[in-house]
């Protein structure tokens, strides 16, 4: 799990028109994924055009189950390589969601040593302050 060092700001997501809906949903503790309805294709990260059909008006936002499996992960163990806002050690996981796209995030109440590829996880949300909400992943029963 990740803990933060007080007083050091966490770098915020850069929000623009292309990913606004994604972060608006996160603020409401929901995960939505970009989806091209012409191709029935999920896209992540959010983008302004479907790479399969090159349409820009077929993109919609669909709720995600938020469930998936750990696809890969890294453990940050020394301060040489880590951003100082995060207490060491901490893990960043790459989660493959049921919809097929992959998200990066931190973990909740999972010790870095216990993480394994294929671990079933689901999303949870955390309000960092008044105007920033992030998500992380917790264990679920496979």
């Amino acid at each position: 799990m990740v803990e933060y060092v007080k007083g050091i700001p966490i770098m915020r997501p850069y929000i623009d028109q292309d990913n606004q809906a994604y972060w608006d949903a996160v603020k409401q503790h929901k995960l939505v994924l970009q989806h091209c309805h012409a191709c029935d294709l999920y896209l992540h990260p959010p983008r302004p055009m479907c790479p399969s059909c090159n349409a820009q008006d077929t993109l919609e936002w669909k709720p995600s189950s938020g469930k998936g499996q750990i696809y890969s992960f890294v453990n940050f163990t020394t301060d040489r390589m880590a951003y100082p806002a995060f207490k060491l050690p901490y893990a960043v996981v790459l989660v493959e969601l049921e919809e097929g796209v992959r998200l990066t995030g931190n973990t909740h109440q999972i010790h870095p040593d216990d993480i394994y590829v294929g671990m079933p996880v689901e999303i949870m949300f955390e309000d960092m302050d008044d105007d920033m909400t992030l998500y992380r992943f917790k264990k679920r029963d496979g």
Binding site: Y14, D16, D18, P45, R47, P48, M49, C50, P51, N54
Partner: protein, 389 residues
Amino acid sequence: MELYKEKTAIVGIGVVPFSTDIGRTEWYTACQAVKLAVDDAGLDMKRVDGLVKNVDDGPDQMYVQKGLGMDNLTYTAESHWGTSPMMNAITAVASGSVNYAVYYQTAHRASGPEKSISDFRVAREMREDLLDLIRADFYTPFGLIGQPGYVGMTIRRYMHEFNVTPEQMGWVPVVCSENAARNTEAVFFDKSITIQDYINSKVVVDPIRELDCAPKVDGSIAIIVTTLENAKSLRHPPAIIMAATQGTSSEGQFFTSYMRDTITELPEMQFVADELYRVAGIGAKDVKVAQLDDSFAPLVPMQLEALGFCDRGEGAAFCEGGDRIRNGGQLPLNTAGGALGQGRFDSARIVEAVRQVRGTSANQVKDADMVLSVSGAGGPADGLILRRQ
């Protein structure tokens, strides 16, 4: 023999309508412009294998690829100034490395940085202020700040050496406004201005007036280059590249090459002219329409001189009255309205050159079989000559 000469052509153009607030991200409009150009050419997106861009403009190739879905680019490149990435596209195609090279220029200069993907725009402006160190050391402490001031220093000297009147300088803006008023795609000038409007225009940095300076605009353009052979199976007759080049000169400094023996000529543009005419095997008199860099209108007379359309010191007199540079005149200029009418956006000149060759300009010039387009009146320059098949 230049590998590209008469072997390459522009076969597709994509223009997202210009706006002072385009309302989308640069990432969005970059994807949009490439798609429009690919459709204009009648090409399959998967066959595009080269993407080139200006260093400071718009999202990089990996970003646009996320929208365009091209699998395999064999060539990407960035060049710095004006429309110089065209040379990357043309030489890559001519060398056989690439079949279809797309040059995309995307920059939302009129709306705020929050409108663009990440911080491209901020980076662009920081770069201009901080990394031009000669400027930071020797110009800004004295308040010589901003391009109108930089250009003004050159123009004052030009007007002094050749006895040019402010009135003579006004004809390029007047004719551009006339062309823009007839071009529904041009954002500025619903109606044309008069020479009196120009004289009355506010002096921003004496001797530069407000109507000398092309306004900022949000835009996104894509241009496709391929071989003449490939062009045969595409939708439009090709705009054949007779010649293309970049041009630089020693002691160059962006808009402020003040240390040369004379500062009232444009040696970079002179090099461009010499090379274009040499390769194309034509002379200035053969050019039917010219798209010159009117980011700052008073630099147009100096370009006319460098490009051989008139003698040195006679550029302003050449434009006087406007008849020589209007459609029907000796050398119609900036027929889409130029940067003054469309906003400052270098690749728009190449688009207009292609339209003249295709016969689809809003101010179509009769028999426009050879068309010139140049960029970079303020420093490193580039240009090309297109012809009809």
